[in-house]
């Protein structure tokens, strides 16, 4: 037999749970409204601690007309975690693809699910520090939006590799997945079954364009 005191205690705790849940939902809705008002898409899982000063990063933006990569400087607040940093960098790069007047147009503004890091085995490296393998998990939406062709697909991969290597120099190799699975090609041409050396991107040195927020 449950005592009257236990019943009251249970009801009070249940009520507290409901109030707390309502409060959290309201907080979440407020945060979403604030982001929407600023025209910013809410990041899926990247949390940048408040108070971190923006850092100048270099994005390598492709130009389909001449097959080149152009260094563009941006000021970004990067999270402390390497994986999250790589995601912020690549999201910013793909936003540049999507921007009006882009030299490498793409119809979507984001497309990286996650970036994972693995140590490169020492036996594969000729230098002292073998660096890290970055496994870039692209979204199926990005693969679908990618213009098909050797040049546009290769430029997308090279710009990702060059951007990662420029800002996270410890990355020496890059492998690509699509929606977490191995994929033969990006959009029918560029081979995704192999692991690329980050140095393969080797962009032509070009003066960075003026910083933009």
């Amino acid at each position: 037999m449950i005592s009257r005191a236990h019943k009251i205690l249970f009801m009070v705790m249940l009520l507290a749970c409901v109030i707390m849940a309502t409060f959290l939902i309201r907080l979440r809705n407020r945060a979403q409204d604030r982001l929407q008002a600023q025209g910013v898409e809410a990041p899926a899982s990247i949390a940048v601690a408040p108070g971190i000063p923006p850092r100048t990063v270099t994005l390598y933006v492709p130009n389909d007309l001449d097959g080149s990569l152009t260094a563009v400087e941006r000021s970004l607040a990067l999270p402390a975690d390497d994986n999250a940093q790589a995601r912020v960098l690549l999201d910013s790069l793909i936003e540049a693809f999507h921007a009006t007047g882009s030299t490498h147009p793409m119809s979507i503004a984001s497309g990286v699910n996650e970036v994972y890091f693995l140590p490169v085995p020492k036996s594969q490296s000729q230098s002292g520090d073998p660096g890290q393998l970055a496994v870039v998990d692209l979204s199926g939406a990005l693969a679908a939006a990618q213009p098909s062709g050797i040049e546009p697909e290769t430029l997308t991969l090279l710009s990702i590799m060059a951007t990662l290597h420029a800002n996270l120099p410890n990355i020496t190799e890059v492998h690509f997945l699509v929606d977490g699975q191995p994929h033969e090609t990006l959009a029918g041409h560029a081979d995704l079954t192999r692991t690329y050396l980050a140095s393969e991107a080797n962009p032509e040195p070009s003066p960075p364009e003026s910083p933009a927020q």
Partner: protein
């Protein structure tokens, strides 16, 4: 046991270019056989010639895509596989008219696996392998050599990196094509890329991707399906291969 494994492997070997080595070519991988990694049936091995034969100048043309693999949608009514087949057919006719032997990997709208394309090309012991693509992006013609690093010739060439031993020759061929296209005032983009079946080819190999012509000071805007534009590209390629005929040895 190791002898038995070696004998089993030898039944799968595809001689890459035995005739080239017979006349002392500078091309590195003259006698390496190529070992297919995923072949389900053992490729046939051509009988060894009784005497070293003079190498024949053979060009392999690979019209990319085909069948259910339509490639890029260049326009709602135009698919890459059709443009590559048209270009390849034109190029084959013109090359044959110039007395150049041609082997094609695809002559109809059929889906040919990359493995079979590479096998056809490697059996031809070709002096040049051209992988033909088309795109709606960029301007002019994009030339791509394999992104593999050059590697010395080894007795058993790994199937996945067979092209590594031919990179130097491939870059020379690319330079020849680059010069001919520039002479025809067609914009060119040069690069390195990893595209199947390029890395499996045991011959000087270049991927040629034809893009529309963007109008400029010198050029008039033209679509990839434009017959005159295709003819100018084909003529430039034939001129390059004519020059390569005297340079490749």
């Amino acid at each position: 046991m190791r002898w038995i494994e070696a004998a089993a492997l030898l039944t799968l070997l595809v001689p890459a270019s035995a005739p080239m080595s017979a006349v002392g070519q500078t091309a590195p991988p003259t006698t390496q056989p190529v070992l297919p990694a995923q072949s389900t049936a053992a490729p046939s091995v051509p009988p060894a010639p009784a005497q070293p034969a003079q190498p024949k100048f053979v060009v392999v043309l690979d019209a990319a895509h085909g069948g259910s693999d339509s490639g890029a949608h260049l326009r709602p009514d135009l698919q890459e596989k059709d443009v590559t087949l048209t270009l390849t057919t034109r190029l084959r006719s013109t090359l044959q008219a110039h007395g150049i032997a041609v082997v094609t990997t695809r002559q109809s709208d059929a889906g040919i696996p990359a493995l079979n394309r590479a096998e056809t090309a490697n059996h031809a012991q070709a002096a040049a392998c051209l992988v033909i693509h088309a795109t709606a992006t960029g301007s002019g013609v994009h030339l791509y050599a394999s992104s593999l690093s050059p590697a010395p010739a080894v007795r058993l060439q790994p199937w996945q990196t067979a092209q590594a031993a031919w990179i130097t020759q491939s870059l020379k061929l690319e330079s020849e094509i680059d010069a001919a296209l520039a002479h025809a005032q067609i914009p060119i983009t040069l690069g390195r890329a990893s595209v199947q079946p390029m890395d499996n080819l045991a011959c000087p190999a270049i991927a040629i991707e034809v893009a529309p012509l963007v109008g400029g000071h010198v050029t008039t805007a033209r679509d990839v399906s434009d017959a005159d534009y295709q003819k100018s590209v084909v003529d430039a390629l034939v001129a390059a291969l004519d020059a390569w005929r005297s340079d490749w040895k």
